[in-house]
């Protein structure tokens, strides 16, 4: 065994990342800066090799197990930390490296480093693998969409809504707008939500790009191409998400920006829109009031995250989403 491994070590230098075992090339690894990445199928087979490396080079750290998601800016992998056996999420930035570190990565890292909150994803570290920047974060196996596929007690749902609002208030109070709140960016573990993906977030400034947030959760002022929006766009997304939790399906499923606007205008018409709609009839009055305040077309009338956590719906511990009759 020992002689084989020495042979491999030697070959690593020669062929940069191609391991040869018994004169037969069997596995391709990405190998860079002393870190090994490989597919899950072969993970077991090469375990010994990797652990040997660990003893030789201390910073062989993460092994990718599988791809778990893909966003606009990056691909997310489930990976294992070979030192602690801990399962982590690795976010690889897709953007080419021609222009140095992509600005979305730069912002995500420097913003995440400021945010230390139980309901916000924790950035463990950032590393460079195969010349690509990777973020190492805690791993959660379910996002909100998957979570809602199963039945959950109402107090869990209410707790999730409240914790999401707390986290968003925490973000906003640090002058940061998330700009991409959607169920896929809210992970759930043990009925506690965690907000992820700060790739689009940025520190508030009076002039911003309108093309942010996934279409279904995009606020009307963004759909109208407004360049000077504020924290209220996150509150609109939250309104959509909270109603999605209650209805168990997305609220507005537009196919284009125009279609999305049309759906919004069709549903929200006048101050009493929720009373005319039968699907809201079973909801608690306080919950409806919260939704109504979040889903205001006019961003200046929408409540802020701070007002939302003080809303009577959360003060009254017997108020749940549905009327219990």
């Amino acid at each position: 065994m020992n002689s084989i491994i020495q042979y491999q070590l030697y070959l690593r230098i020669e062929n940069d990342g191609v391991f040869i075992l018994s004169n037969k090339q069997i596995y391709d690894y990405q190998f860079e800066y002393n870190r090994i990445i490989c597919d899950s199928q072969i993970l077991y087979q090469i375990k010994d090799i990797i652990y040997y490396y660990m003893s030789v080079l201390e910073n062989v750290r993460y092994i990718k197990i599988q791809k778990i998601g893909e966003g606009a800016y990056g691909i997310i992998y489930k990976a294992q930390d070979v030192q602690t056996q801990e399962i982590v999420a690795l976010k690889k930035f897709k953007l080419s490296d021609y222009e140095g570190v992509p600005s979305c990565a730069l912002r995500e890292i420097s913003i995440l480093k400021q945010l230390n909150h139980p309901n916000i994803i924790k950035l463990i570290s950032q590393i460079i693998i195969n010349k690509k920047l990777h973020l190492v974060m805690n791993y959660y196996d379910k996002d909100l969409t998957e979570y809602l596929k199963f039945y959950h007690e109402e107090f869990h749902l209410k707790n999730i809504i409240y914790k999401i609002l707390l986290a968003v208030e925490f973000i906003h109070s640090r002058k940061i707008i998330h700009r991409d709140l959607q169920p896929n960016n809210i992970l759930v573990k043990n009925n506690e939500p965690v907000i992820i993906d700060f790739g689009l977030s940025r520190v508030f400034s009076p002039n911003l790009t309108p093309g942010v947030t996934q279409l279904w959760y995009r606020a009307p002022e963004l759909l109208q191409n407004c360049h000077s929006y504020d924290y209220a766009i996150d509150m609109w997304s939250l309104g959509c998400i909270i109603l999605e939790i209650a209805l168990n399906k997305p609220l507005f499923m537009g196919q284009s920006e125009i279609h999305q606007l049309l759906l919004i205008k069709n549903l929200i018409d006048g101050d009493e829109w929720f009373k005319q709609n039968s699907q809201f009839a079973k909801f608690n009055n306080l919950f409806i009031d919260l939704i109504n305040k979040l889903l205001q077309i006019d961003p200046t009338k929408r409540i802020t995250s701070k007002q939302a956590i003080q809303h009577p719906f959360f003060q009254d511990q017997f108020a749940f989403i549905y009327n219990n009759e």
Binding site: C104, S173, N207
Partner: protein
């Protein structure tokens, strides 16, 4: 003096017209009354506070907490060798790349820290300085404004440092990586400029402030100085003082960050507060500190007085240096003489507008340090607009538009032919900015020094 009127009468219709917000929606954050529409701090129900919409911030979240987070004590790292050249270089390149002045301050902050910790090979220094500027842009500019390495290289080598074009993209990338690692990814920072802006957004002038008579009327036998309270003046006279403060802070901050002794040996919070105090003094107010500022920041006048006098010496120094090298009757001086004639117009701020990057909520395009350069091409537009302002004083509440030459309604001003002789002179004075970038920055600063100087003479 004891006017116990309710707020609503206080902030009259006239106030609304001149200052753009009547502070009707208020909220108490951390025991302080804040206008949620514009973020002004209303300390005492008996005094009016002034600021223009230029300094508008929506106060959805406790702005006092934001301020406290920003006003963390501390000294920057430094000083470093060749710092003046680096700053000059950053300003030049950022102007060409259309980046805001806030980004320049951030980049200066990065290089101060980096060069203080790492010894950089001498022929590579400007590689690192230009990369720091790119990093600062990546950290806070809109994505479409972030320069590509190729563009950065092209524009950076158009300065006195053509050697930058020799570096490869890979060199830039490794410089960037080294910078990021050295700063541990902490790229979002509060610079001196951010601190001053945060303070100004709470409103730093109120009607309890006083000013000396002779500064107002140029009275020849003003041996015994008469104090006037701002509350005795008309709203658009007060606007003049408010604008004076809100338009000069970038220049003052630039002067301070260039001065190693002052910048590196004074606590950043104290420095920002002293800047505000200095700006008040420069605008003509007699009391550099007020109850309003005292209760906003919890800092008393005695804590800042020494650094205020340091700022005064600093700006006086740069002024005397400039007057030796320049003739007395420069066009900018002429311009200032004209506007100090008894008419109560308030355009003292125009010539420095191109330095101002503070943008407004309703603005469609971000105004930046570099934008103004592009706007040089549109100079007739700018002029006719200023004309409209001089000709029609009732429009003064609109004059914050002065700094936004970009919106489409600019063209409406083109039709107003109210040009005066004085204005023609002003136009010719404004044309001293050449269309290319070469010596422009220098000219600009000379102008700044002139202004600083002429005001300073009054204090001596």
């Amino acid at each position: 003096m004891s006017q116990l009127e309710p707020f609503e009468h206080h902030y009259s219709k006239q106030y609304l017209e001149v200052f753009g917000c009547s502070h009707t929606n208020r909220h108490i954050y951390s025991e302080k009354m804040i206008c949620t529409d514009c973020g002004i701090f209303l300390n005492n129900p008996n005094t009016k506070v002034y600021k223009t919409l230029k300094m508008k911030y929506n106060a959805f979240f406790n702005p006092i907490k934001v301020l406290q987070g920003m006003m963390v004590d501390g000294l920057p790292n430094g000083p470093i060798k060749q710092r003046q050249e680096f700053i000059e270089f950053i300003l030049q390149v950022s102007e060409r790349l259309n980046l805001s002045i806030n980004t320049c301050f951030l980049a200066i902050n990065y290089i101060d820290q980096y060069f203080n910790k790492v010894a950089v090979n001498e022929n590579q220094t400007y590689l690192f300085v230009s990369t720091a500027l790119m990093l600062a842009a990546k950290a806070q500019e809109l994505d479409e404004r972030v320069p590509f390495i190729s563009k950065l290289k092209r524009y950076a080598s158009m300065t006195n440092h053509p050697e930058i074009s020799q570096f490869s993209t890979q060199d830039f990338k490794s410089a960037e990586r080294s910078l990021i690692q050295q700063m541990e990814w902490k790229l979002q920072r509060n610079t001196l400029l951010d601190r001053i802006e945060a303070l100004l957004s709470f409103g730093v002038i109120d009607d309890d402030d006083s000013l000396g008579q002779q500064q107002q009327k140029e009275n020849k036998d003003s041996t015994h100085q008469q104090h006037i309270k701002l509350r005795d003046l008309q709203e658009n006279q007060i606007l003049q003082y408010v604008k004076e403060v809100e338009s000069k802070y970038v220049e003052v901050a630039l002067q301070i960050i260039r001065d190693e002794q002052l910048y590196f040996q004074t606590d950043q919070t104290i420095l920002a507060l002293s800047c505000v105090a200095y700006l008040r003094k420069k605008a003509g107010l007699l009391n550099i500190w007020s109850q309003q500022l005292q209760s906003l920041t919890g800092v008393g006048a005695q804590k800042i007085s020494s650094s205020v006098s340091q700022i005064m010496t600093l700006i006086a120094k740069s002024k005397s240096f400039k007057t030796i090298t320049k003739l007395q009757a420069t066009p900018s001086d002429l311009y200032y003489q004209q506007i100090s004639t008894p008419t109560n117009n308030t355009l003292t701020t125009v010539s420095s507008n191109h330095l101002i990057n503070r943008q407004f909520q309703f603005e469609q395009k971000r105004q930046s340090f570099g934008d103004a350069i592009i706007q040089k091409a549109k100079i007739p537009l700018l002029q006719s607009k200023s004309t409209a302002h001089l000709g029609d004083l009732s429009k003064q509440h609109l004059s914050h538009n002065n700094v936004t030459f970009t919106t489409s309604n600019n063209y409406t001003f083109l039709n107003e032919n109210t040009t005066t002789l004085a204005l023609n002179n002003y136009i010719s004075s404004h044309n001293i900015h050449p269309n290319h970038n070469g010596g422009e920055l220098d000219k600009k600063y000379e102008q700044v020094h002139k202004v600083g100087g002429s005001l300073f003479r009054q204090f001596q």
